[in-house]
């Protein structure tokens, strides 16, 4: 998430795919034309105040009004409109159904991510991190489980609202591999500003490796793990699912691959053992109002053991 908000150039001016770049090009063109018009107006103002009488008379003449006041704006705005619509037409191209589909649901204050197969069934579950291949269009099915959120990954596209009871489609495409931060862009509650995600765009080989690793059946070590046992006994499993174990809660983020995530707390902190311990013990200080209670009733060693086990879930 930090990448989404900070860094230079700002992500909105640093497009990583065709859907973001058309908007960026249009924005720069509008800025350039605006700067040019401002320069002309300032120059005319200078002439009107300090210029020689002959120039002043010219500036106030009827001809100037016809040319600079009517013809110039009509021509420029018409050209701009036609060019702008042509440039951004691709944003609205019909979705042909062959794109890869990912359903992203906004929830207070995180993103549920379901990768769909060709039949529209859920193939993989994840949260707060979306992996996409470079060079292939991807359609996000955006929805919400509670209030209105908005999905915004500035490197890849403009914003699109996530409305409960509706599915909004957003097509994106990444042209270069990388990690792109995203945020919720519609005020949704107390920790709205702490609701982010990371989109990871993989090159072709990397993408295949990722798919294979995610599709491989989970083999959990047979040796009893103290952290795993605590996870099941302490109530974590009631809200969180970990594939290949008895933990099958669906209220909170799927933790089957939480150890491989780049961030925890929905894009707000780097994922290391320490932040995981802090999140489990006192997530309410970190993200006020989130639905996970503080697990401060667990002895510190137990929290550390659970965090250590979660870190192994790659």
């Amino acid at each position: 998430m930090t990448e989404a908000l900070f860094g230079w150039p700002p992500p909105v001016l640093d497009p990583a795919g065709p859907y973001a770049s058309s908007v960026t090009i249009l924005a720069w063109a509008l800025f350039a034309i605006g700067a040019g018009v401002t320069a002309i107006v300032v120059a005319a103002l200078y002439v009107a105040i300090k210029g020689r009488p002959a120039l002043k008379a010219r500036l106030g003449g009827e001809k100037t009004v016809w040319i600079a006041g009517i013809a110039f704006p009509v021509v420029v705005l018409t050209v701009l409109l036609v060019w702008g619509l042509a440039l951004t037409a691709r944003l609205n191209r019909p979705i042909d159904g062959r794109e890869m589909r990912i359903r992203v649901s906004g929830e207070l204050f995180w993103f549920r991510v379901h990768y769909l197969d060709a039949q529209g069934r859920v193939a993989l579950r994840d949260a707060n991190e979306v992996h996409i291949p470079v060079g292939r269009p991807v359609v996000f099915e955006l929805t919400s489980a509670d209030v209105i959120h908005s999905f915004w990954v500035p490197h890849l596209s403009g914003k699109k609202d996530m409305v409960p009871g509706r599915v909004n489609l957003l097509r994106v495409e990444a042209r270069k591999p990388g990690q792109y931060g995203g945020v919720c862009a519609e005020f949704c509650g107390r920790s709205h500003a702490l609701m982010g995600l990371v989109v990871v765009a993989h090159g072709p080989d990397d993408w295949q490796r990722w798919l294979v690793s995610r599709r491989a059946p989970r083999v959990r070590s047979a040796a009893p793990d103290r952290g795993a046992a605590l996870f099941m006994q302490s109530g974590c499993a009631a809200c969180h699912r970990v594939a290949g174990t008895a933990a099958n809660g669906l209220a909170g983020p799927d933790l089957s691959h939480v150890g491989a995530r780049r961030t925890i707390g929905a894009g707000i902190m780097p994922n290391n053992r320490g932040t995981m311990i802090g999140w489990i013990g006192d997530s309410q200080s970190i993200k006020p109002g989130n639905r996970m209670p503080n697990y401060d009733m667990l002895p510190a060693q137990d929290t550390a053991a659970v965090a250590a086990w979660l870190g192994t879930l790659k």
Partner: protein
């Protein structure tokens, strides 16, 4: 103690001596301000950046870090005025740097995990913690 002096009265001699030695002991716990080490401000600045990068504040309240302010671990405010690190280790910059990097190695069973920082970054973090004021 009476106003006249420490050894004003034979009966109170022992009492007075023990009071003086107790005072000396208390004073010895904390060296006078100029004898205490002073951190390199540049190192402290670098340490602050590392602290934000690995999010130490997910568990600790750290002066100068507004968010987060986790309470899973102890507050790290006024570190130079504290007793032993984690209750057992001498409160010295080198020990703190080593502890930040690998707490369980210095204190077996510590719930604080090894943190992903280099030795130099750990020294910078220690510098920041001694330097930082609320």
């Amino acid at each position: 103690m009476n106003g006249g002096g420490i050894v004003s009265d034979k009966g109170n001699l022992f009492h007075d001596l023990s009071a003086v030695s107790a005072l000396l002991l208390i004073a010895a716990c904390k060296p006078p301000p100029d004898a205490r080490w002073s951190a390199d401000p540049a190192a402290a600045g670098r340490g602050r950046v590392v602290i934000e990068r690995v999010h130490c504040a997910a568990c600790h309240q750290i002066p100068g870090v507004d968010w987060p302010q986790g309470e899973t671990g102890p507050s790290l405010e006024d570190f130079g005025d504290r007793g032993p690190i984690a209750g057992t280790l001498p409160n010295r910059p080198d020990v703190l740097a080593a502890f930040v990097r690998n707490a369980p190695a210095l204190k077996p069973g510590s719930p604080m995990p090894p943190m992903p920082v280099s030795e130099e970054e750990a020294r910078d973090i220690a510098a920041y913690l001694y330097e930082a004021k609320r």
